[in-house]
Symmetry: C2
Subunit: 506 residues, 2 copies
């Protein structure tokens, strides 16, 4: 192999990570910017990935007793005013509907007409409108727990947007539950976080740290916010899911009360939890390389592409018959709960064909020409290995091994991501080491810093905000499984009993 | 059986059909009005039905090569101006976003802030925004056909709303395709209509008539609109799906052009087609009776409810063990492509328990008490039969027959609906008979009229609009499979070569 190996994506991750991210999405044909400010169009290859994520997560939700429902897109403004912290957190960046008609202005242009007496907000999240329903649905302890999820679009007006990571409109699920006791609500908050962890680790192959947000980083109105945090390849953290214990705050705001077994009236304890199309951004930034996206097999939009090779025009019919037969056999196989998705690409465009599928990140590429047919074998390229590293395997052996090959790719991706995170995570106990860890060494690449610092924090918001002001570094979470350990706050030196995750973040 | 049989829904269909519809939805717990004008909350029982419809239809779409994608909720106003007829049809009833922030007014109330330079419309349908993407995605004949579907929410500001039938926000799918030739686009328009027909007839058990809309009833901007029309139990027509051949109108408006094999540049031929949560309204109004909703088994949110009966407190454990074992066995069975959904209702609320499930329309109710267990049998009530008409069946026989029983219920519902439609459809050739057919006989029930009139129409819009003005009756469609037959226009007496469907409609 030559030193000067050609890669499909320019710039490379090392050259310009943010630009690499834009280019890799473009090259994979997953999504693109919409003509509407801050919005995206999710193209079929990206949307099929989302469908697989949705299907799997939906099964996991339902297995815990959650049922789906659908609530209005629009929220009356005064609903947002109900919970004091919530209004501060969400009122700033909302799309507001003020008219219900378009009219022709002189000159023929369309202008808003039919002003609404009470403007409506396009939901940025649905605690308040779902709370209104819950207040009607819940009367007695017999109605509890109430376990509801919604798959929906939401809108948060964002100034700086990036496809999948931060868009004005995005797709998500939001779970909302109500319980008779705080214990049960706290258990549910934790249970849904662990569903997210299983989804993100076992299906998206992204290792995460489970933890509590600090008070400063909490969901507006929550008593406790749990989250999962992943490390991207630029060593920044990405929050991949959150689960909130809302105490009785929203129950009081929306009057969600119930009669107990002893006939007293109490407010319910509620939770909410959400994940979004942002996970796709996390998947791309965790696994993608300088040749494009890499799809973990368990959620891949397709598992295998068959690339028929015709040496002579006469070969075509024979090769296509063989390829169609193989595709039919593979499509009957089930992997990770769904039938294998097999693409056949018989375009006559030479080497560009293979590269298209590398950029899209399909787990396996199979080249099949007359020579392979004669040997009854297929020529297999794995997306987790260098693109020239291809192997001939007998057709029957390939079919027999296929589930194991896909599992192996899935595991390799997860292990590689775990190793990357380990390499860029360090216990940091000295203040100047800490500042050094987060200070770019190369002015031309201001984004390159150490990674995650596991450091002690005294619990004081002043220390948290000083570090944020100095380094643009935040406490991503206080890990759930962090053991108790005596130390001193990385900022002020006061005593502390556990390490927290400090990082730059998306 | 006494003459004075009690029914669960009041008023009955005969007493007040529109009010029966509201009450039946309430009693079934499928949906309710939202606190936002014209919007609905779809509750778990209604949403599970929608999920089953979506899953089945999505499979049918994909089998024809369609892929899903997602486009923005918001459409720039000037996009709607692109197609002249389209803007007339949709600009009137849109939700318009004019601000992107909320601000606190003096006194603390929230008011719109951050005015947008260019207001945005919440999509009433997506031809224009998807057309913009298509214009970028399509360059050559090799990119065609492009077959895309979107599952989404849309908003049309409606003055008079009714849950599922007409709401300001509703859930739907909209398919959008582009083709190299008009022939292929017309074939696709027809193909998707036949997917709708199969879905609505074979799964929702609603018989439909396939036809063309008249020019006056066409989708704004379409060259031809195909539709399926069903008859509700008040004899009015409900349009359950539409498929539009858009010619090159939208391609010209959005500049969707391609290079042909001979290297000329041409506009593509496009189609669009849609169905919505309105189908649920159609299902309720086709099958529902004076005891509630009746769910066709193939799309039912659940198939069987097990109702354990405890004569003595001591029975409980034993009966529940038996019931749980039966539920586990049933849940392993597959019917119409999905695992059987089995509910267990062990609430101690007496007869109200059985009625709750009758109102919800679950296909089968199984009562199981110590006596049934001793005989190793179950006591089965079918929702398509009178509620007292229950039969004891041996457990094993029941399990063996279950798919056939469900199929039989599905077929009975369809046949009953077909018979109802036949009874209330008539060839009408005389003008005064026609006026009589649509004139209520009883002033207290102005909604009761004949039903569908299959009558000749000369093709003149003047006749169509006179009948609409006189009787509030429209031409629902010109049936696709109507044979040629000589006759005279029901309105003006001029010659005509085919009968069309006249009806009052939702």
């Amino acid at each position: 192999m030559g030193k000067q190996q050609k890669n499909a994506i320019s710039p490379s991750r090392a050259e310009d990570y943010p630009e690499w991210y834009q280019q890799v999405i473009k090259a994979s044909d997953m999504a693109e910017r919409a003509p509407v400010r801050g919005c995206m169009v999710i193209k079929p290859w990206g949307y099929a990935l989302w469908e697989n994520i949705v299907a799997q997560m939906d099964r996991m939700f339902k297995a815990t007793g959650v049922k789906n429902a659908y609530f209005p897109l629009f929220i009356p403004i005064n609903f947002l005013e109900k919970e004091a912290e919530h209004v501060e957190g969400f009122a700033k960046e909302c799309a507001v509907v003020t008219h219900h008609r378009l009219e022709k202005a002189p000159g023929g242009r369309l202008v808003p007409g039919g002003p609404l007496t009470d403007p409506l907000v396009v939901r940025p999240t649905s605690e308040t409108i779902i709370g209104d329903s819950f207040s009607k649905w819940i009367g007695s302890y017999r109605d509890l727990p109430l376990l509801i999820n919604q798959w929906a679009n939401v809108v948060r007006w964002e100034m700086r947007t990036r496809i999948f990571l931060r868009t004005s409109e995005f797709l998500w699920q939001e779970g909302h539950t109500a319980h008779a006791t705080d214990t049960e609500a706290i258990e549910r908050t934790r249970m849904m976080l662990s569903v997210y962890t299983r989804m993100v680790q076992d299906y998206l192959a992204i290792p995460v740290i489970e933890g509590h947000k600090t008070a400063a980083e909490r969901f507006p109105g929550a008593v406790d916010t749990l989250c999962i945090e992943a490390m991207m390849q630029d060593r920044k953290a990405l929050q991949a899911g959150t689960s909130h214990f809302l105490g009785q705050n929203f129950a009081k705001a929306s009057n969600i009360s119930f009669q107990t077994e002893t006939e007293t009236e109490e407010f319910a304890w509620t939770t909410s939890w959400g994940t979004s199309t942002r996970m796709i951004g996390g998947l791309i930034m965790t696994h993608g390389d300088d040749d494009g996206v890499i799809m973990p097999p368990r959620v891949a939009p397709a598992h295998v592409v068959l690339l028929p090779i015709f040496r002579k025009p006469d070969d075509r019919q024979q090769v296509m018959d063989y390829v169609n037969g193989l595709a039919a056999a593979l499509r009957e196989m089930v992997y990770a709960g769904r039938n294998l998705v097999v693409e056949i690409d018989d375009r006559d465009i030479g080497g560009a064909r293979g590269w298209d599928w590398i950029k899209k990140g399909i787990p396996l590429r199979l080249e099949i020409g007359p020579r392979d047919m004669a040997a009854d074998s297929v020529f297999v390229g794995r997306r987790d290995r260098p693109h020239r590293d291809k192997t001939a395997i007998k057709r029957e052996a390939f079919i027999a091994q296929l589930p194991d090959i896909l599992d192996d790719i899935q595991n390799q991706l997860f292990q590689r991501a775990c190793r990357f995170r380990e390499e860029h995570t360090r216990n940091v106990d000295d203040r100047s080491d800490f500042y050094d860890w987060f200070t770019p060494k190369n002015q031309e690449k201001p984004e390159v810093h150490g990674g995650f610092a596991m450091s002690h924090w005294c619990g004081d918001e002043a220390c948290e905000s000083k570090i944020k002001a100095d380094l643009n570094v935040t406490i991503r979470c206080v890990p759930i499984d962090a053991g108790s350990e005596t130390g001193t706050c990385i900022c002020c030196g006061k005593s502390s009993d556990k390490r927290v995750v400090f990082a730059k973040a998306y």
